[in-house]
């Protein structure tokens, strides 16, 4: 019924286009309701934001490797107030660390990753003309855009951007007296985050509705590509957890501006005892991490979904254990809601409650391990085609394992005590979540670039980009573990205040050098990305020999995706190198032969 209506609508629209042949620039490229355009808007915004956040990270890495040294670039970028004479100011260091984290976690790896690929692939891969609501989808992007703008605006106000860390724990973030970054910058952070939550909800509701209602004929849930499963569960996680962050932010706004005491109690600051009593900052931590932990799976699941697809297509093999993969996505999604307390082992939480969180957290390791082993088995006896996307996907499997393993240490409440909030944690989550998700996102960009921009990216630049990035990434984050094991806390402006850290300066120099190398590698990507968008060689219809539906659409961005009737699905998406078939792939639209079993049966 739904499909029929949409079909009729699209047909009508196509008809219209034949006659008028024009859509205004504004409705086509700016306030577009087409999922493909919105996806490109998300991607380009995210690439720009990621680049800004990366430059921030290089600035504070310079300070950590050469504390107090003068850098022309600091003064050039940050001005005399924040980098007098080229020496990074401590307040600005805090701002950079905070905004780097916020942009990467929310704007790039949540908004950017889900926004780009859920929008692009959900309608394409399930065989729908567009999202359930194009209008909400458009709003979702523009709220995201506003949110990005507000986040950066912090750097334009006199007291600077928010600087209490990306988790913005009160009372530090609630009291303007506590630090400069808790003044106007913090208000902007909260405004930005409120817009972001709206964007995320509009997007998420759309993704869920679309996957449930708009699948084409034959596309049962067990014939969905794993990308869609990942986006679907991600959207559910987002819809259930982001409102909790909103409530946390709202109470924080009340505490900041209206004199309430949700998070404040018994505080003496700036020479006076505050009136507020009875609140608890721990309440904020619970609310924040109730979002915050599902959030890391909101980041990593889409990346794993993209990787599943890319590894299968390029190994020319079915993804190993399709149903186990779905099961592990669901298990991870469910468990992600009952583990948030592992961020709070040393807040004075009841030790028994801590034990429960240890148990649930370590349970997540099981579905994660299943996923990792299944990826490795998919490579076994494959015929691996090394597109740049495939390299990034294999890179993700590596970082997902090496970062995930240290998570087992951190999930163990007893072991967490001495390494909590040290750089060991920073190394852990950058590898397992940051790197994995970025590698997965880049894999997706290389793989679906021909679908998004109808052209190919340059493979050699892609190879250079991957190997340079991969080496630099491990070069930055592997040695970082040892800083944590030396007892070095995170978010320290300089390590030179304590003699006990003086011998760690060489590690910091190594890390910063790799960070600069990694930054340069992204210039290669930026060039390749924007150059290929306009000048890359035109792509054929199904360049990677894929089974999924997006490659059955013509190589043109037409409204409604398929010019004629919607495709009908007859099989699961992973029939690669199936015995008895001539080609090494069988698209989902090919009917089953007599006696052929679907879904990986022989």
């Amino acid at each position: 019924m739904e499909n029929h209506d949409l079909h009729a609508h699209a047909h009508h629209h196509g008809h219209e286009e034949e006659h008028h042949h024009e859509e205004s620039f504004v409705s086509k490229y700016i306030f577009s309701m087409d999922h493909k355009t919105i996806s490109r808007q998300f991607l380009i915004t995210a690439v720009i934001m990621a680049f800004i956040a990366m430059i921030m990270s290089i600035l504070f890495r310079l300070q950590l490797a050469w504390p107090g040294e003068k850098f022309w670039i600091m003064n050039f970028l940050l001005g005399d107030k924040w980098a007098p004479g080229g020496v990074l100011d401590a307040g600005m260091y805090m701002q950079l660390v905070t905004i780097h984290g916020t942009i990467m976690v929310f704007m790039v790896l949540t908004g950017g990753l889900s926004g780009t690929f859920s929008n692009l692939l959900i309608p394409y891969q399930i065989g729908a003309r567009d999202m359930a609501s194009g209008f909400l989808n458009m709003l979702s992007y523009w709220f995201f855009f506003l949110s990005s703008v507000f986040m950066l605006m912090g750097f334009m106000v006199e007291s600077g951007a928010a600087s209490g860390g990306w988790t913005v724990y009160p009372p530090l973030s609630a009291l303007p007296q506590a630090m400069e970054g808790s003044r106007m910058g913090m208000t902007l952070w909260l405004v930005s985050m409120s817009f972001f939550i709206v964007s995320s909800l509009l997007g998420g509701l759309n993704y869920i509705t679309t996957v449930i209602n708009l699948r084409t004929k034959g596309m049962s849930m067990t014939r969905l590509p794993l990308t869609i499963w990942a986006f679907f569960v991600t959207a559910i996680l987002g819809v259930l957890s982001f409102p909790v962050l909103f409530s946390a932010a709202l109470l924080l706004i009340f505490d900041r501006s209206f004199g309430t005491s949700f998070y404040l109690s018994d505080i003496y600051i700036g020479g006076q005892a505050l009136e507020q009593t009875g609140g608890s900052p721990i309440l904020y931590e619970h609310l924040f991490w109730f979002l915050g932990h599902p959030e890391v799976y909101i980041i990593i699941l889409p990346a794993l979904g993209l990787t599943s697809e890319i590894i299968s297509v390029n190994a020319r093999k079915p993804i190993f254990g399709y149903r186990a993969m779905i099961g592990s996505i669901l298990a991870i999604g469910f468990l992600s809601f009952i583990v948030w307390g592992h961020h709070m082992f040393i807040t004075g939480m009841n030790p028994f409650l801590g034990s429960v969180f240890v148990f649930t957290t370590l349970l997540i390791a099981i579905p994660s391990a299943v996923k990792a082993f299944n990826y490795i088995t998919t490579l076994w006896k494959g015929n691996i085609r090394y597109t740049p996307a495939m390299l990034f996907a294999i890179g993700l499997v590596s970082t997902f394992i090496s970062g995930g393993l240290t998570g087992i240490i951190l999930a163990d409440s007893a072991l967490d005590i001495p390494i909590h909030d040290t750089l060991f944690v920073v190394a852990h989550f950058h590898i397992v979540m940051g790197l994995s998700a970025i590698l997965g996102m880049l894999a997706g960009v290389y793989h679906w670039f021909p679908k998004m921009f109808l052209r190919h990216m340059n493979k050699k630049l892609g190879y250079i980009h991957f190997w340079g990035t991969f080496v630099a990434a491990y070069g930055v984050f592997f040695p970082m573990h040892f800083l944590g094991l030396a007892g070095l806390p995170r978010r320290y402006y300089t390590n030179s205040a304590f003699p006990m850290f003086d011998n760690l300066i060489d590690i910091n120099i190594i890390m910063t050098s790799f960070a600069i190398l990694g930054g340069l590698m992204q210039l290669v990507f930026l060039f390749n990305f924007f150059y290929s968008m306009f000048r890359g060689p035109k792509s054929e219809q199904n360049p990677w020999g894929s089974n999924t539906l997006e490659w059955t659409t013509p190589m043109a961005n037409i409204h409604g995706n398929w010019p004629g009737a919607l495709p009908v699905v007859h099989r699961w998406p992973y029939d690669y190198s199936k015995p008895g078939k001539e080609a090494d792939f069988v698209p989902q639209t090919v009917p089953l032969a007599d006696g052929e079993v679907d879904g990986g049966g022989h």
Binding site: D266, K381, R385, Y386, D421, K459, Y493, L517
Partner: protein, 341 residues
């Protein structure tokens, strides 16, 4: 240091120019060639790099372990810390085995099965047996990890014994204050509304329990072999009392009192004579000499480990662990806070 920076900058600039040239080269050839078609040559090349990466990566890991492990914290100086160090090493050994095996498989397969033009992949969509194996084995290993972990956790978080020495650690932007409970081993009441410049902890003069309380700054002393119970408070934002040498940490939260207890096992003097610490301090003092700073002796430190403002990086207090006799001598030389007036 500047020299080294310039050195790095030059190398990186050369790299950058090299790549830029390459970028332009490739860009000019972009249209004529088929820069997007993946050939068997590309597959072989990347397959070989995968194998090379495996080797280089493990060399890097080994080099990291060899050069950086000696820079990490010395042996634990508390009773429960020994358990934690053992548990950490035990877990790390398991994880390192998993890390090694999975990475060898991943990168070796990535090399071995690089795409050949006349090859066809094996259709192997699932195997219940294999999947069962790698669900059950991790589950068993994790069960072991959980059991050992929770056993340690329960021991550490159990209530402190009644005769533990009570010390309050008070955090504010950006320093620490320690307060000893005195002869009655009970802290006097305090209230944030009583805070003045002089009475930084807001101690209540009317409470008799507080009459013998002693307040110290910059450094505090604790006796070896005696259990110490810390009561933690913060004045305005969350801080975290982090004593890495004792493998101890607990947040200090405004509006509530958190607790933490441990038994120190090694005095400061003993630790200074430990061969590992001597090596460690040699490295530290070499680095200090390069910066033109005077050498330092080893000390246990209390740090802040929760972002608390711009000077979060410099919130320190020295901890001296000494024999009970020395401790008592030191303590009796301190005057109770309210007696000072």
């Amino acid at each position: 240091m500047i020299k080294f920076l310039i050195y790095v900058a030059i190398i990186l600039t050369v790299f950058a120019i090299g790549y830029l040239v390459r970028v332009f080269e490739l860009a000019s050839g972009l249209k004529g060639n088929k820069p997007h078609i993946i050939t068997e040559k590309d597959n072989r090349l990347n397959g070989r790099i995968m194998l090379t990466f495996l080797v280089v990566f493990f060399l890097f890991v080994i080099w990291n372990l060899k050069s950086f492990v000696p820079l990490t914290l010395p042996k634990s100086a508390s009773e429960h810390g020994d358990d934690l160090d053992w548990l950490f090493n035990f877990n790390m050994a398991i994880l390192f085995i998993v890390f090694t095996l999975t990475h060898i498989l991943l990168f070796y397969f990535a090399y071995k099965y690089y795409g050949r033009d006349n090859n066809r992949a094996t259709y192997f969509p699932h195997s219940n047996k294999l999947e069962m194996i790698w669900t059950v084995i991790p589950a068993i290993v994790l069960a072991v990890i959980i059991i050992f972990g929770l056993r340690a956790w329960n021991k550490i978080t159990a209530k402190a014994s009644d005769d533990a020495i009570v010390i309050q650690l008070y955090a504010k932007q950006f320093d620490w204050t320690a307060r000893y409970a005195g002869a009655d081993n009970k802290l006097g009441d305090s209230n944030y509304k009583l805070i003045t410049d002089e009475n930084a902890l807001g101690m209540d003069e009317k409470d008799a329990k507080g009459a013998d309380d002693i307040v110290v700054r910059n450094e505090f002393h604790i006796p070896v072999g005696k259990e110490i119970e810390f009561k933690l408070n913060a004045r305005e934002v969350i801080h975290s009392a982090f004593m890495p040498h004792f493998r101890a940490q607990m947040n200090c939260v405004p509006g509530m009192t958190t607790m933490l207890h441990f038994t120190p096992t090694v005095t400061t003097e003993e630790m200074r004579k430990d061969p590992y610490v001597i090596e460690l301090m040699k490295g530290i003092n070499e680095a200090r000499a390069k910066r033109g700073e005077k050498p330092e002796e080893f000390n246990y430190m209390l740090l802040c480990n929760k972002i608390c403002g711009n000077s979060h990086y410099n919130m320190q207090m020295t901890i001296i662990v000494e024999s009970e006799a020395d401790y008592n001598k030191w303590l009796s030389s301190q005057k109770p806070f309210f007696a000072k007036k």
